[in-house]
């Protein structure tokens, strides 16, 4: 987890350093490439101050580059609103649905 020394778990909105285990062919990504990514959906619940709890069915991250721009052009699925407060409005603006 970037910005937090030796944190055990990352949550939605954290930037993580990851390595690619499997890559779809014909994409500019290759296996065993070290990349940065932002977590956007987790199976662990996300709590909001108004009591809302959001839990997704999958764990998803969006690959970003060093500057924080998403590497892909489109994003699939829902994104939580919290990413906007964490300065990831770019990802939010590419998302089809913001919850």
């Amino acid at each position: 987890v970037i910005g937090a020394s030796n944190r055990r778990y990352a949550h939605i909105g954290d930037v993580i350093v990851a390595v690619i285990k499997e890559a779809v062919p014909n994409t500019p990504l290759e296996r065993s490439e070290v990349i940065r990514a932002v977590i956007v959906r987790t199976r662990k619940e996300l709590k909001r101050d108004n009591g809302m709890i959001i839990r997704y069915d999958d764990n998803v991250a969006v690959i970003i580059d060093q500057e924080g721009n998403p590497k892909g052009t489109r994003i699939f699925g829902t994104i939580a609103r919290e990413l906007r407060q964490l300065n990831f409005t770019k990802i939010v603006s590419l998302a089809p649905e913001v919850l």
Binding site: E45, G51, M52, I53, I54, R55, Y56, D57, D58, E67, G68, N69, T73, R74, T78, R81, R84, Q85, N87, T89, K90, V92, S93, L94, E97, V98, L99
Partner: protein, 239 residues
């Protein structure tokens, strides 16, 4: 649309789970034709329930009041028939006949107040666009995205040809916004090939030409209405 994913929302303690599964149509008269999307007429205020294609609950007994409307009720029966375009109208009619508003959020502003906010944001957006054109940014577009996304009202997209220019546009916009409107943007501090300034209702995107072509935001928001700008490249009229 057979999407086998479940999104679970828990509001105030009670849990709704909507699951989409394949469901063979039964002999009930009401479910003769399979249906597609079901519009939530009553609860359009709540943004959650716009996601009609994902979470749908139906009382299987035949009464078409979706149990999602009654808060506090456990909505465990959920099924979805095979989707087809025909039954939208049928369900609209049934909603008109049987549907009732069970819960309405009180914070909804009246339409006139919302319109005032819109015009305010619009003038703000147009000012920002003017600033961008002063710095010679190319291809400035102002998109009215309120009907598409709920988290913002306007998008401004501009192209700058070099990083210092991006920096200049960004700082000018920031200064103007702070001086005139008192709004402080949250966004990138360092100039990025895609710089974003988030002013709440208005989001400013500044791209380099390759990034603009790469991300192609206009295509993504193609349904948004473009706002006409008083362009300064037009020759002034001499009467």
């Amino acid at each position: 649309m057979a999407v086998c994913s479940t999104t679970t929302l828990s509001i105030g303690g009670s849990v709704f789970s909507g699951q989409l599964r394949h469901w063979e149509p039964n002999e009930s008269k009401l479910f003769q034709k399979p249906r597609s999307r079901f519009r939530w007429l009553c609860l359009n205020d709540l943004h959650l329930l716009r996601f009609r294609t994902k979470t749908l609950n139906f009382n299987p007994r035949g009464s078409l009041l979706p149990s999602l409307y009654a808060y506090g009720k456990e909505a465990d029966d959920a099924f979805l028939s095979k989707v087809n375009e025909d039954t939208d109208e049928m369900f609209d009619d049934l909603m008109k006949k049987h549907g009732e508003v069970v819960f309405r959020k009180n914070e909804r502003k009246s339409p006139s107040a919302e319109l005032d906010d819109d015009t305010e944001s619009l003038s703000f957006a147009v000012e920002m666009a003017k600033v961008a054109s002063d710095v010679k940014a190319a291809d400035i577009r102002v998109l009215f995205v309120k009907p598409l996304v709920y988290w913002t009202r306007f998008f401004i997209i501009a192209t700058a040809f070099s990083r210092p220019q991006i920096d200049a546009i960004g700082s000018r916009i920031r200064d103007l916004a702070e001086k005139k409107y008192g709004k402080v943007p949250s966004g990138d501090a360092k100039p990025n090939s895609w710089t974003l300034l988030d002013f709440g209702d208005v989001v400013v995107h500044i791209f380099l030409p390759q990034q603009r072509a790469f991300y192609n935001l206009e295509e993504f928001y193609g349904n948004a209405t473009l706002i006409e700008l008083p362009s300064e490249t037009q020759p002034p009229f001499h009467t």
